[in-house]
C-alpha cells in the first residue's frame, strides 16, 4: 500500500459531487479521486496513492517511472492484476 504510482488521466467525471478520473497506469485502468488535484486535465499525469491523486507529474518523469516499475513487476504487485 506504500507505493504511489504515476498514471495518465484519460477522462474526468463527477460522481456524487466528487471529481473522479479514469487513470491509466501503463495499461491498468483505475478509478481515481481527483479532489486533491482538481485542476488536472485529460492527458496529464498524476501521482496516485490508494486511489487518490496527490500531485501532478510531467510526462517524461511519469513514463520513466512507469517503465521502471513495470520492468520490476511492481505494478502487478500494487494492483494485483496485469
Amino acid at each position: 500500500m506504500c507505493l504511489a504510482v504515476p498514471g495518465q488521466v484519460k477522462s474526468i467525471s463527477e460522481r456524487d459531487g466528487t471529481l473522479m478520473a479514469d487513470v491509466d497506469f501503463g495499461g491498468v485502468r483505475k478509478d481515481v479521486c481527483l479532489q486533491y488535484v482538481p485542476d488536472a486535465v485529460v492527458g496529464e499525469y498524476v501521482v496516485v496513492h490508494v486511489g487518490f491523486a496527490i500531485q501532478r507529474l510531467d510526462e517524461d518523469s511519469a513514463k520513466q517511472t512507469l517503465a521502471n516499475f513495470e520492468q520490476l513487476g511492481i505494478l502487478e504487485e500494487e494492483f494485483g492484476a496485469k
Binding site: Y36, V47, G51
Partner: protein, 368 residues
C-alpha cells in the same frame, strides 16, 4: 556492480555513484525514513554500491510494522463482531494481534475484505445499508488524505453505517524521537518524498536546525535515491545541515494545499504508540470532534482494549540491542515470519526476520 544494469538509466546511475564516491572522505550514517525507500535500496543493492563507510540505517517508515498491537486487537474485535464488514489494505491481514491476525478471523468466517482504496469501503457501505462497514485507516501523511476524504464524504452523503478505525502516524515527531534517543547514530535523513508531496517541506527546517542534521527530501526510484544520497553526502562533508529537495518533480514546497486543508478539518493531533518503539507525543492523528461519530473505536466500544505483547516476545530487548534474536526462546519455533509474535519479526526488514532468513545455522545450534 551486478545491479547497475537494473537501473532505468545505468549511465546516470554510474555518474551519480562516481560523484558520491568522489565526495566521500569518511564514514557517515544516514537514515532513509520510508519503508518504500528501504525496499528500493535493498532490491537494487544500492547499499552495496555505496562507498564502504556509508551506512544506510532503515527508518520506522513502514505503517504496517509500526501499527500498535492494541490497534490490531481492536481491529480483530471489530472484524469478529456479527454483521460487520471489515475493510483493510491487504498487507494488514498477516499482522499479528495478541492471539490471531485478520486473516485467521476471516478464515473463521468473519467478513473481512481487502480494498484498494478507502473509497471502495464507502461504496461497500452504501451497497450494504443493513451492515456496519469499518475501514482500517492506517498510514502516514501520504495515506491520511484518502482516509480523511472518505470520512468527509460519508458525512456529506449521510452514510451512517460507515466508520474508520484510525491509526495514523506522523513523520516529523518520529524524526525528533529518533534524534533524542540515547545512542542515536543518525547523522542525516532522507525524508519520504510522498509524505512531502502532501505536507510540503515547511516542518523540516526547524528539525534540521534543532538537531543539526541535513534532511534531503528523496523519491523512491533508484536514481532518486542516489541523488538524495549524493546531496546528503555533500552536506555532511561540508558541515551544513539544511533541507534540500531531491524530488522537486513531485514535491512543491507547500505540498498539496487542498489535501492539507482536508486533513486539518477531519483530523486532530494526538499521542500515538508505535509498535516496537513506544509512545511518541503528538505523533498521530485521530478524528476531530466534528467527525468523531465516525470513529469505529467509539462505535464499537473497543477503545479500552489494552494488550501486552506476547509474554514470549522479547522484541523490545532486540530493538535496544540487549539480546540477539536467536536468544529469544520463541525464535523459529512459536515465532516465524509466517506466524510472527513481535514487531521485529513482522516486517521483513526487522532484526528477527533478517536473522530468520539469513542465520538459520544459529537456530540449529541453539535447538540442538
Amino acid at each position: 556492480m551486478k545491479y547497475l544494469d537494473e537501473f532505468s538509466d545505468p549511465v546516470l546511475a554510474r555518474r551519480l555513484l562516481d560523484q558520491i564516491h568522489a565526495a566521500t572522505t569518511r564514514p557517515w550514517a544516514m537514515m532513509e525514513v520510508c519503508g518504500g525507500q528501504t525496499h528500493s535500496i535493498i532490491r537494487h543493492g544500492i547499499d552495496q554500491l555505496l562507498p564502504d563507510g556509508i551506512e544506510m540505517i532503515h527508518g520506522p517508515g513502514c505503517p504496517v510494522c509500526v501499527t500498535p498491537l492494541e490497534m490490531i486487537d481492536r481491529a480483530l474485535a471489530i472484524a469478529a463482531t456479527p454483521g460487520v464488514i471489515f475493510c483493510s489494505f491487504g498487507d494488514m491481514l498477516r499482522v499479528p494481534g495478541s492471539g490471531r491476525d485478520l486473516f485467521t478471523v476471516k478464515s473463521a468466517g468473519a467478513d473481512v475484505r481487502v480494498v484498494y482504496s478507502p473509497l471502495d469501503a464507502l461504496t461497500i457501505a452504501r451497497d450494504n445499508p443493513d451492515r456496519e462497514v469499518v475501514f482500517f485507516g492506517i498510514g502516514f501523511e501520504t495515506t491520511a488524505p484518502a482516509n480523511a476524504m472518505t470520512v468527509y464524504q460519508a458525512r456529506r452523503l449521510g452514510v451512517r453505517n460507515f466508520s474508520l478505525l484510525v491509526s495514523h502516524v506522523l513523520v516529523p515527531p518520529a524524526i525528533a524521537a529518533i534524534m533524542e534517543a540515547p545512542n542515536c547514530r543518525v547523522q542525516a535523513f532522507l525524508a519520504a518524498g510522498h509524505v512531502c508531496s502532501v505536507m510540503g517541506t515547511s516542518l523540516y527546517p526547524a528539525l534540521a536546525e534543532r538537531y543539526r542534521v541535513p534532511i534531503v527530501v528523496t523519491g523512491f526510484e533508484p536514481l532518486d535515491i542516489l541523488e538524495g544520497i549524493r546531496q546528503t553526502v555533500v552536506q555532511l562533508e561540508s558541515g551544513t545541515h539544511e533541507v534540500t529537495n531531491a524530488y522537486p518533480r513531485a514535491v512543491p514546497p507547500e505540498g498539496n494545499v487542498p489535501a492539507r486543508l482536508m486533513l486539518e478539518d477531519v483530523f486532530e493531533v494526538t499521542d500515538r504508540t508505535w509498535r516496537g518503539i513506544g509512545m511518541i507525543p503528538a505523533s498521530g492523528w485521530r478524528l476531530s470532534a466534528r467527525y468523531r461519530s465516525f470513529d469505529a473505536e467509539e462505535r464499537f466500544a473497543v477503545g479500552e482494549i489494552h494488550t501486552d505483547e506476547s509474554p514470549l516476545c522479547r522484541a523490545g530487548e532486540v530493538l535496544q540491542g540487549h539480546i540477539k534474536p536467536h536468544e529469544c526462546s520463541a525464535f523459529g519455533k512459536e515465532c516465524t515470519p509466517r506466524n510472527p509474535l513481535g514487531a521485529t519479526m513482522v516486517s521483513s526488514e526487522g532484526a528477527c526476520a533478517a536473522y530468520y532468513a539469513y542465520r538459520r545455522l544459529d537456530l540449529v545450534e541453539v535447538g540442538a
